[in-house]
């Protein structure tokens, strides 16, 4: 195992303020995710899974504790740098797809690049970028939907578009917050297959939140968030990533 985790949260605490009351959501969470690892986070609704994802993906800052990327602390960076990291290092997939309704599929997939580059740079390299986007769209099987607006797509198609969008900026880490939560079982499995493929073929580090344990078990490692703390739901660290074994081993749960 590599000595420094790819992305990690160290003793992270987060609470939301509701008027006078402070509602603690995360009460000291530690998680270390290694390069090319596929980790699922399970937990009851409202247990703070999304909150943790947001902290890892720099969409929010922890009250206490720190978030590291390749051993470097990143949660205290200035907003500009954090924006930059979100754009280049992290890819996000959400339960509700979160595509931009005014843009068509191709434009949605291209949007992280549009955000990254100035108009001039984008215009200069638009051919390469478009080719890349089309390639990714082909890979998620939506080539026939290039100019469709999100509202003209099904849930599964939208989620696949969201995956293509997350991949266009060549991220190191994919953060998927209940990617199958809104889809029927079969579509959900399809999406999961895509993620697994990415994890195996592209060495992508994936952190996935789900409350479907069957889906969670497809990951290399499952952790459970409960009462603001993280506990190993099943630890297959020994088996290592990418091993077909890990899936079968998944049946014998070691509840921690």
């Amino acid at each position: 195992m590599p000595t420094s985790p790819h992305v990690a949260a160290v003793a992270v605490e987060k609470s939301y303020r509701k008027g006078e009351h402070k509602i603690p959501v995360l009460r000291g969470v530690d998680i270390q995710v290694h390069r090319s690892e596929f980790v699922s986070i399970v937990g009851a609704s409202g247990s703070g899974k999304s909150t943790l994802m947001h902290l890892l993906g720099l969409l929010d800052v922890p009250d206490v504790g720190e978030v590291t990327l390749g051993g470097q602390r990143i949660d205290d960076l200035p907003t500009r740098s954090r924006d930059e990291l979100r754009n280049r290092v992290f890819g996000f997939i959400f339960q509700f797809y979160h595509l931009l309704p005014e843009l068509n599929l191709l434009e949605n997939v291209l949007s992280p690049l549009m955000i990254r580059y100035s108009t001039w740079q984008y215009w200069k390299h638009r051919r390469e970028m478009q080719d890349k986007a089309k390639h990714l769209i082909e890979r998620v099987g939506l080539s026939h939907r290039l100019t469709h607006k999100p509202r003209e797509l099904s849930g599964g198609e939208m989620q696949r578009a969201a995956i293509a969008r997350a991949l266009i900026s060549d991220p190191e880490i994919l953060l998927a917050d209940e990617p199958t939560g809104n889809l029927d079982a079969r579509t959900g499995r399809e999406i999961l297959d895509v993620l697994k493929q990415l994890n195996e073929q592209n060495d992508l580090t994936i952190i996935m939140v789900t409350h479907d344990e069957r889906i969670a078990q497809q990951a290399d490692r499952v952790v459970r968030l409960d009462e603001g703390r993280l506990e190993a739901f099943r630890d297959l660290e020994l088996a290592g990533p990418h091993s077909g074994e890990s899936l079968r081993l998944g049946e014998k749960l070691r509840v921690g």
């Binding site: 979100r86 959400f94 992280p112 955000i115 984008y122 215009w123 900026s169």
Partner: protein
Amino acid sequence: MYKLLLCQRYLRTRYIALASIISVTLGVATMIVVNSVMAGFSTQMKERIHGILADVVCESVNLDGHPNPEELMARIRAVAGDNIEAMSPTVEVYGMLSFKYLGQWITRPIQLIGIDPESKAQVGTLVDNLENYQEVRDDDGKFVRAAARKRGEVPNWELIDEHMEYRRRRAEQQRIFDDTMMDSAHEVPLEEPAVNPHNPPPEEEAEINPAKTAKALQVLQAGAEQTVTAELPKPEVAAEAVTDAAHHDELVQGAEAGVNPFDQPGVPVTEAPVVAADPAALNPARVYLGAGLFRFPYKDADGKVRMVNMVLPGDDVTISTVNAGRPPKAVHFPATVVDVFKSGMSEYDSNLVFMNLAQLQEYRVMVDPSTGERSITTIQIRLKDFSKSKEVVEQLRAAFPPGHFTVRTWEQKQGPLLAAVSVETAILNVLLFLIIAVAGFGILAIFFMIVVEKTRDIGILKALGAHASGVMAIFLSYGLGLGIVGAGAGVVLGLLFVWRINDIEALLTKVTGIEVFDERIYYFPSIPTHVDVSMVIWVAVGAVFIAVLASILPARRASMLHPVQALRYE
């Protein structure tokens, strides 16, 4: 890149925002139309005033005038000769105009200006304002005949042939009436030629005449035909002055004796016993009468508006004023109307009466009996270059000690009017700009709405790595885009409106049946407009600026949205 794309998409899909921009469009269009029409009016008005007033006027403080205009003009030339193009000495005095209309005497206050038409035409646009120099059109605007005098001709005090003809027939009619209707000798002639400004043919007159004057009519017609056919010898002007002098002296002296000639029906000119030589002979006093003094619009039975003339060129009127004696006394004298003065400025048209300078000086006793020196009250000056006017005024003020003359440019003389117009324009602009500002608040409200509606998308953009400044830029450029679209549409709409304003006016008149822009009130044949390019640019830029200003707050709010909150927003 995404900023432009999203901004463009928002522009294309958020029609509600276009609704907010309509008020900007209308505001911009209104401002352009109002400013163009106001500018049109004021340029036209300035042109007209300028034409009447001459560039610089040097006015005697004393109503009795100043003797020796030649010496005066020489002094002016010595001081500012390089800048002076032409000068015209005039006598300006207040007076009364009286004439008889439908059996009743009408008296109106006037400003009497004694001019020498030749020099006056050089300092201003006199020729442009005299009706004999204009084409004749009937009440429907149809061409009747070409101008009686050519523009190159120097204005003089003679009647044109057509009016002379009219005057002869009038005199003839008068004679016949006097002969045949002794019992009603002091009544007005029956066929008051009020409605028709031109000489009606005798047959038409016949229709107007009541039956009881049938006999008179026959004689009259015969007489009229006679005057047409018979070549009357044209009286020499000098001879005429001599023959009439006795009669007019009577009149003037009558005034001095405190006798009002109007109390005696026999005395006023139109009914005065005709002096032997020629009943149609002109009075020595000749006038150009301001159109507004004797002409008024009248709605006939068909609902058609016609101009009614109470006096026609060739008729006589009576003028009263004060002389320059010690103490000043009233003088009355008859004057023949030789032309009509119409400038389009009602203030002038219903006030000014131009008269032959020499005769006015005589009547006002402004001629020194021993030296023959004639006094004047005003010298009108035309400059080679009007931009030098301030300089010239300074020079002349320095040259003439205060207390004798006031020297002013026409702008200074009309200062209050011009100031009123510019204040009016300024206030209108402020009010109209407030309309656009109100539109700005509409944009503000709608933008806030759009930001709320787009909260989740803003969260997505931030999750994808967009900076706060980028999100702000989307909404600012959205505001800018809307402003440009709104202002652009407003400019186009406004310019189209200005371009077709007279067609629009005609259409409105047709639809509503009310004359929206009555030429007879405004004296303009069509609504004058003047599009000032810099004004259009300023209005458009102002509107765009307001749109951007109104989008700042919503854009700031959008940029400050917390990405997580935004993403959770449903």
